[in-house]
Each structure stands twice: as structure tokens, then as C-alpha cells.
């Protein structure tokens, strides 16, 4: 138990240290901006990883939850003058309820059906965002007010970097704790063999629903904050491709590895920037990475690298 706790803390401290020293190596706001985007993606991916990696379920609609959070903040703050933090919470509660309603019956089914249902929700959300232009600004998107709390306005890349950094550490801490809790062990049992888990008395459906709701709420909160940071949101942030991108990050970094999800999010946020000179080949490279990762390192980047290290006990 001590060793477990130790391993958990080491990882968390390492992540905190990287976040703390990184700005010193980033020459200007352009790089800081990319780091912030990577951070937002990482927050969503850590949640999604709980679902994919630990509950063995796939969501092809998480960008939809991200989008609902983003537009809840955009519309409630901009059009109705709500305080940003209240709008953020309202978005999160709405997404949580939606996820709960959908998950309850559907998570009792096998993986294919949840893929179908989440795909459906994601597409419906992005069509609504595109169509209801009176509320959302349509395909061109909408401007979002800056985030103000206790009279302080969060402004600029330097401030937001720390906001996202703290959020990421918090989310990672939360999921590491969750994974090591009795519930986490139950979840791993669900992934291993659902029937076996049920036989020994694990309420598999309940755990899956909980994780699904939690991961959706993470996405919504990240969406709200992203909207305030970027100042502009478009329906593209909520569409099917964004959902696929998020799944790709989780899978590439390593399913069932929280830090893997973070690494996956960071690498795949950087990759398109690095590939801008090969714009025409971007899809080929992305698709190729996706297939090759799954075929040659089905566990993902981080777990595969870790397995290559000399046999050391890992938490």
C-alpha cells in the first residue's frame, strides 16, 4: 500500500515539476498557447482514459460534451450575463445529467452500442450548434467573454497556463485516486472480464455509468474554460472528428495509463504543428499512426516504453 501511494505521488510530482519548469523553455506566447491547448486536451483525455482504459468502453462523442460545456459558458455568460463560474457549473451539471440518462440503459449493453449511442449524441450536438445560429452563432461560432471570478479577470497566456496546469494536476490526482480505490479495482475487473466481475458481486453497470458521467463532466469543464481562454468557439470543436482525435490521443498514449493519456494528448497536439509543412499528408500520417499503434503497440506508447525499461516495480 505504501509503495502504491509512493508510486502515485512520484508520478504526480513529476507531472507538477514538468508543468512548473516548462514555461522557462518556451520562448514566446505562441508556444505557451500550444502548451495550453495540449493541457486542455490532456484534461479531457484523462477522463476519457478512465472510460476507455478502465471501463473498456468507447465514446465517439466526447467532443459533444466538450462543446456543450463551451457553449454553455459562451451563451449563459455572453447572452444572459451569468457569472462565468455559475455558467461553468451549470454546463457541467447538464452534461452530467445527460450522460447519466444516456448511460443508464445503454452501458448495460456491449461496447458497440455505446459507441453508436455516443456517436449519435456527438453528431446531434454538433448539428444543433451549427443550426441554432440565433443562440450559437451558427457555423462561424461565437465570441466568449473573458473569465472573471471575484472581480479578477483571467487574461493572457501566462495566467491561463497556470490555470490549466493546476486543473490538469487536479484531474490527474483525482483519477489516480479513483483508480486505486475499491471502485478502481472493480473497474479493472470490468475491463478484464465483465461476467467474472459480475459473478463476484461487482455492480458493473453502476461503475460504468459513474465513470462515463465523470469523464463527460471533465470534458464539459475543459470545454467551458477553453471557451473563455480562446474567446471564440466554433461547432468544429464539438464534431465527430474532434471526438476521434480525443480517442486517438488516449489510445496512442496508452489505454489504462493516466500519464499515458497526458503524453498522448501532448504529442498529438504538437504533431499537427510539426506537420504543417506536410499539410497534404496530415490525414495519412494520423490514420497511419492510429492503425500502427493499435497493431504494433496495442497497449499504447507509454505502457510499451515502460515495459522496455529494465524490470522495475511500477505502481
Amino acid at each position: 500500500m505504501n509503495a502504491l501511494l509512493h508510486g502515485r505521488l512520484t508520478g504526480l510530482l513529476a507531472l507538477g515539476a514538468v508543468i512548473a519548469v516548462l514555461p522557462a523553455f518556451l520562448p514566446n506566447n505562441f508556444y505557451l498557447d500550444i502548451a495550453i491547448l495540449a493541457g486542455f486536451n490532456a484534461v479531457v483525455c484523462v477522463g476519457l482514459n478512465l472510460l476507455i482504459g478502465y471501463a473498456g468502453q468507447i465514446s465517439l462523442g466526447h467532443a459533444g460534451f466538450f462543446g456543450i460545456g463551451a457553449y454553455a459558458s459562451g451563451v449563459l455568460v455572453g447572452t444572459y450575463g451569468w457569472p462565468p463560474i455559475v455558467a461553468l457549473l451549470a454546463g457541467a451539471v447538464f452534461v452530467g445529467l445527460l450522460a447519466f440518462l444516456v448511460a443508464k440503459p445503454i452501458l448495460r449493453l456491449k461496447g458497440h452500442y455505446l459507441a453508436m449511442a455516443t456517436l449519435g449524441i456527438g453528431i446531434i450536438v454538433s448539428i444543433v450548434l451549427r443550426t441554432e445560429s440565433g443562440l450559437t452563432g451558427g457555423p462561424d461560432g461565437m465570441m466568449v467573454e473573458p473569465f472573471r471570478i471575484f472581480g479578477v479577470e483571467l487574461y493572457g497566456e501566462k495566467v491561463w497556463y497556470w490555470v490549466v496546469g493546476v486543473l490538469l494536476v487536479g484531474v490527474v490526482w483525482l483519477s489516480l485516486n479513483l483508480i486505486d480505490s475499491p471502485m478502481g479495482r472493480a473497474l479493472r475487473a470490468v475491463h478484464g472480464s465483465e461476467v467474472a466481475a459480475e459473478v463476484v458481486g461487482v455492480d458493473t453497470a453502476r461503475f460504468k455509468v459513474l465513470v462515463f458521467v465523470l469523464s463527460a463532466v471533465f470534458a464539459s469543464v475543459a470545454g467551458s474554460l477553453f471557451a473563455h481562454y480562446a474567446g471564440l468557439i466554433t461547432p468544429a470543436k464539438a464534431d465527430f472528428f474532434k471526438s476521434i482525435e480525443l480517442v486517438t490521443m488516449v489510445v496512442f498514449g496508452g489505454m489504462a495509463s493516466t500519464f499515458g493519456a497526458v503524453v498522448g494528448a501532448v504529442v498529438l497536439t504538437l504533431l499537427p504543428q510539426a506537420l504543417t509543412m506536410f499539410q497534404d499528408y496530415q490525414q495519412i500520417v494520423l490514420g497511419g499512426i492510429l492503425m500502427a499503434t493499435m497493431v504494433f503497440m496495442p497497449k499504447g506508447l507509454l505502457p510499451t516504453l515502460a515495459a522496455l525499461l529494465p524490470a522495475r516495480r511500477r505502481a
Binding site: H112, I123, V251, M294
Partner: protein, 291 residues
């Protein structure tokens, strides 16, 4: 009133026929390998793009369709052999992601080869609309519905009458038992991808004069085909066909009577509703799992 309704039903039937073909493709692959092939839409795209670009450079239409069909089958077999079969024992999630990766990859290659522009393919037998009780119908719609009908019947006969078809059915019921009686299940998986690819490519070629062809045409068609397959009960062939027609007609009615902006949402609203109340689709059997 009636003419309007008939008009919607006819256009729903046309697009529904394509969804049915795509849905059938999903079912065939699912039965053989328990994989949801998200690259199904890309087969449709390959068929549409190949026939449009080849006819534009002077190749006769039937030959162009055959080349497109052969190309799609080759791609299907390659995806099956080098991606899906290699990950044979991987989880559902892994397999889904592999096929999504394949579809992104194929779209990227298609953009390189054919560019991002819309390609036009002339209607097979002119564009003079046929009048039916006040509703008008493009002759191409008849080609779509007719071709889909012939293919669906042919697939039905293939599974019922031929040895290969029966071997594929046997594999879908019990892979291990099929292997024990001497069926080469690996070849069955390859054959299922080839067959689905052929269905998709021919569907893409006949629908191209109506929708135009472009490298992203397969995305929505493929996803709707997936809803059709799930609606009918995954792995249930006739169910997938019925699901496709239901989705197509509901979509046309929704676009006509409710809002054309929400046309693409109709299929997904239906599938969510059905999954909530009939978790195995309309015709799917309630599954039990063997441990």
C-alpha cells in the same frame, strides 16, 4: 398533399437503398469477424470517386465501375489482412480504432490522388424526371434502387445457396467449430471485407450522379450505414436492409416536414430512441454471453 408525401417517400427510398447497402456491409463484416468496420463509408467513396474520375478520362462507365469495385475490394482485403487480422485477439475498442484509423488513412490517400474537389458523374440514363402521380423522380433513383435490390437479393442467394456463403454463415455462428470442420476462417474474414467493399463501391458509383462524389462523401454515408445495421440488429442482414430503408425514409420525411437543417440528425435520434427501448435493435436476438 399526397404528391408531396410520395415525393418524400421516393427520395427516402433512394437514399435508404444506399444506407441499406452500407448497413449490409457492416453486418457481413461483423458476422465474419465481430469487427465494426468504420472504413465502410470509404468503400462507398472509392466507388464514387473512381467511377466519376475514370469516366471523365474516357473510360466506359461499366468498366469504370468494375475498376472502382475491384480497387475497393483490394483495399478491403488489405485492411483486413494487415490491420484487422493482426489484431485478431484485441478488444472491441482496439478494433474499432483500427478501422477508424484505416478510414482516416484512406481519405488522406484519396485526397492526394483525386484532390478535394467535387467530381461530377453523369446520370446513367438521362435526367428527364419521371412523373408518378404528381411526384417526380430522377431516372438515376431507379438505378440506385434497382441496383441495390439486385445486390441485396444476390447476397441473400449467395449466403443461402453457395458453399462459400454457407461457410461464412457457419463462421459467424461459431468461429471455432467452423475451423474444426475445415473452414479457413481467415479467408472468410478476407472474403467478408472484399464482399462489403464491393457492395459499398457499387453503391457509391450508382449514387454519385445524385450526390456528386468527393473524398468526404463516405463519412456520413458510412455512419448512417452503421445506424442502419444497429437499428436492424447488428449482424442481422435483412434487418440492416430494413434499417437502411427506415433511416432513409425517416430522414426524407424529417427534412420535408420538420427541418432540412436537421436532416442528418434524424438517423441518430431514431437510433438513440431505439437503443433506449429495444437495446438489441428491431430484429436482433437477445444475446447471451458464453464465458
Amino acid at each position: 398533399m399526397f404528391a408531396e408525401l410520395l415525393q418524400y417517400l421516393l427520395s427516402g427510398l433512394t437514399i435508404g437503398a444506399i444506407y441499406a447497402l452500407a448497413g449490409l456491409g457492416f453486418s457481413i463484416i461483423y458476422n465474419a469477424s465481430h469487427v465494426i468496420n468504420f472504413a465502410q463509408g470509404e468503400f462507398i467513396m472509392i466507388g464514387g470517386m473512381a467511377s466519376a474520375t475514370l469516366t471523365a478520362s474516357g473510360v466506359p462507365l461499366p468498366l469504370a465501375i468494375m475498376i472502382g469495385c475491384g480497387g475497393a475490394m483490394l483495399v478491403g482485403v488489405l485492411v483486413a489482412k494487415f490491420a484487422v487480422e493482426r489484431a485478431r485477439n484485441a478488444s472491441t475498442v482496439t478494433l474499432i480504432i483500427i478501422t477508424i484509423g484505416a478510414s482516416i488513412f484512406l481519405r488522406g490517400v484519396a485526397e492526394l490522388v483525386w484532390g478535394k474537389d467535387f467530381k461530377r458523374l453523369d446520370a446513367f440514363s438521362g435526367e428527364t424526371p419521371i412523373q408518378i402521380m404528381g411526384a417526380s423522380m430522377q431516372p438515376q433513383s431507379l438505378w440506385v434502387v434497382g441496383t441495390a435490390g439486385v445486390l441485396i437479393v444476390a447476397i441473400g442467394l449467395f449466403f443461402a445457396r453457395t458453399l462459400t456463403g454457407k461457410a461464412m454463415l457457419a463462421t459467424s455462428h461459431n468461429r471455432l467449430a467452423a475451423q474444426l470442420v475445415g473452414i479457413d476462417v481467415k479467408r472468410v474474414v478476407l472474403a467478408s471485407f472484399a464482399l462489403s467493399a464491393a457492395l459499398g463501391a457499387v453503391g457509391g458509383a450508382v449514387v454519385a450522379p445524385i450526390t456528386f462524389s468527393y473524398t468526404e462523401m463516405g463519412i456520413m454515408l458510412g455512419l448512417k450505414g452503421f445506424t442502419a445495421a444497429v437499428l436492424g440488429g447488428l449482424g442481422h442482414g435483412p434487418g440492416a436492409v430494413a434499417g437502411g430503408l427506415i433511416v432513409g425514409i425517416a430522414e426524407a420525411l424529417g427534412a420535408g416536414y420538420i427541418s432540412s437543417a436537421y436532416k442528418d440528425a434524424v438517423a441518430f435520434v431514431i437510433i438513440l430512441a431505439v437503443l433506449l427501448f429495444m437495446p438489441n435493435g428491431l430484429f436482433g436476438k437477445r444475446g447471451t454471453e458464453r464465458v
